[in-house]
C-alpha cells in the first residue's frame, strides 16, 4: 500500500464500494421490501465494511510513509 498509484486504486475501490452501499441504502429508504432490506443487511453493509477497511489501510500506509507510525 506504499505505492501511490496502488493507494489511489485502493481509495477509488473504497469510493465505488461506498457508492454501491448508498444505492442500496436509497432503495431501502425509498421502497423497502423484505428482500431489499435483506440485500442491504447482508450485501451492502459488508461492502461498506470492506470500504472502511480499505480506507483505514490506506490511512495507515500514509502514516507509515510519513513515519508518524
Amino acid at each position: 500500500m506504499n505505492d501511490p498509484p496502488r493507494r489511489l486504486r485502493i481509495l477509488r475501490t473504497a469510493i465505488v464500494l461506498t457508492l454501491v452501499f448508498n444505492v442500496i441504502a436509497l432503495l431501502v429508504l425509498v421502497r423497502v421490501t423484505p428482500v431489499i432490506f435483506t440485500v442491504f443487511m447482508f450485501l451492502a453493509q459488508p461492502l461498506f465494511g470492506a470500504a472502511l477497511i480499505l480506507l483505514f489501510g490506506a490511512v495507515l500506509a500514509e502514516l507509515r510513509a510519513r513515519q508518524i507510525l
Binding site: T18, L19, A25, L29, V35, F37, F40, M41, V59, E62
Partner: protein, 230 residues
C-alpha cells in the same frame, strides 16, 4: 444542503398525506412520524454522500490522496455511517408493515382477507376495528420483547430465503402452533377479558396454553386453495 431540504420536505408531506388518507383528521401541528423523519434524513444523507463521493473522486484524480484524507474520512467514513444507521432504523421498522408482508405474492390471499371489511376471520376483525393500530401481521406473529424481535427477524430471513429460492410448499402453513401468549399480551390484562363469564372458568387453561385461543376464535385466516406458483 439547501437543495436537499425541499426533497426532505416532499417526503414528509407525502408521508403526512398518506396518514390522512383515511379521512381521519391529523393533530394540529402534525409534522410526520419519527419513521418519516428518519426516511427523509436518510435520503438527504444519501444525496449528500453521493455528491461528496463524486467530488472526492474528481479531486483525488487531480490532487492525489495526500491532500484528501479529510474528505475521504468524511465521504467514505462518517457520512455513510449515518446513512447506514438511518437506513437500518427505517428498514427495521418498515419491514414490519402489512405492505412489507404483502410484498411476497404468497401472502396476497392473507392480506386481501385482512383488508376485507366483509370478512369475519379473526385477523380481519382485528384489522377493520383497529384493535391493532399498525404493523398488524408483525404484531400477531412476533413474540414480545427484544428476544421476540430477534426471533421474528431471523424467521423473516428464513422466509426471504425460501421465497427467493422457491423452497416452499403451497398452501402456506404456520410453522408452529399459534401460542396463546401472543393473544394474552394484549387481552390477558383486559378487565373485560378477565371478568368475562365465558372466559373465567377456562382462564388457567388459556394462561397455560393448554387450550388454544384459536379453538373457539379461529380461523385466523381464510382457508387457502392449492394455488399455482406465479
Amino acid at each position: 444542503m439547501t437543495p436537499l431540504l425541499p426533497l426532505a420536505g416532499t417526503l414528509l408531506v407525502s408521508g403526512a398525506a398518506a396518514a390522512g388518507e383515511s379521512g381521519v383528521p391529523l393533530p394540529q401541528g402534525w409534522i410526520g412520524t419519527t419513521s418519516q423523519w428518519i426516511q427523509a434524513f436518510g435520503v438527504a444523507f444519501v444525496v449528500l454522500n453521493v455528491i461528496l463521493l463524486c467530488l472526492t473522486w474528481r479531486r483525488l484524480r487531480s490532487d492525489g490522496p495526500s491532500s484528501m484524507w479529510g474528505w475521504l474520512l468524511v465521504a467514505v467514513g462518517l457520512v455513510p455511517i449515518m446513512v447506514g444507521f438511518m437506513t437500518f432504523a427505517h428498514g427495521l421498522e418498515s419491514t414490519t408493515t402489512v405492505s412489507a408482508c404483502g410484498s411476497c405474492h404468497v401472502m396476497t390471499p392473507f392480506v386481501r382477507d385482512l383488508q376485507d371489511v366483509k370478512s369475519d376471520t379473526l385477523a380481519a376483525t382485528h384489522f377493520k376495528n383497529r384493535f391493532i393500530r399498525e404493523s398488524q401481521c408483525y404484531t400477531c406473529h412476533s413474540d414480545y420483547g427484544l428476544g421476540g424481535t430477534l426471533k421474528a427477524k431471523l424467521a423473516g430471513l428464513g422466509h426471504v430465503w425460501r421465497y427467493t429460492t422457491g423452497l416452499y410448499d403451497l398452501p402456506i402453513k404456520i410453522a408452529q402452533p399459534y401460542p396463546n401468549f401472543r393473544c394474552l399480551g394484549c387481552h390477558g390484562e383486559s378487565q373485560r377479558f378477565l371478568n368475562s363469564v365465558t372466559m373465567k372458568p377456562i382462564l388457567p387453561e388459556l394462561m397455560s396454553g393448554q387450550t388454544p385461543c384459536l379453538t373457539c376464535h379461529g380461523p385466523a385466516h381464510p382457508a387457502q386453495k392449492k394455488e399455482a406458483r406465479l
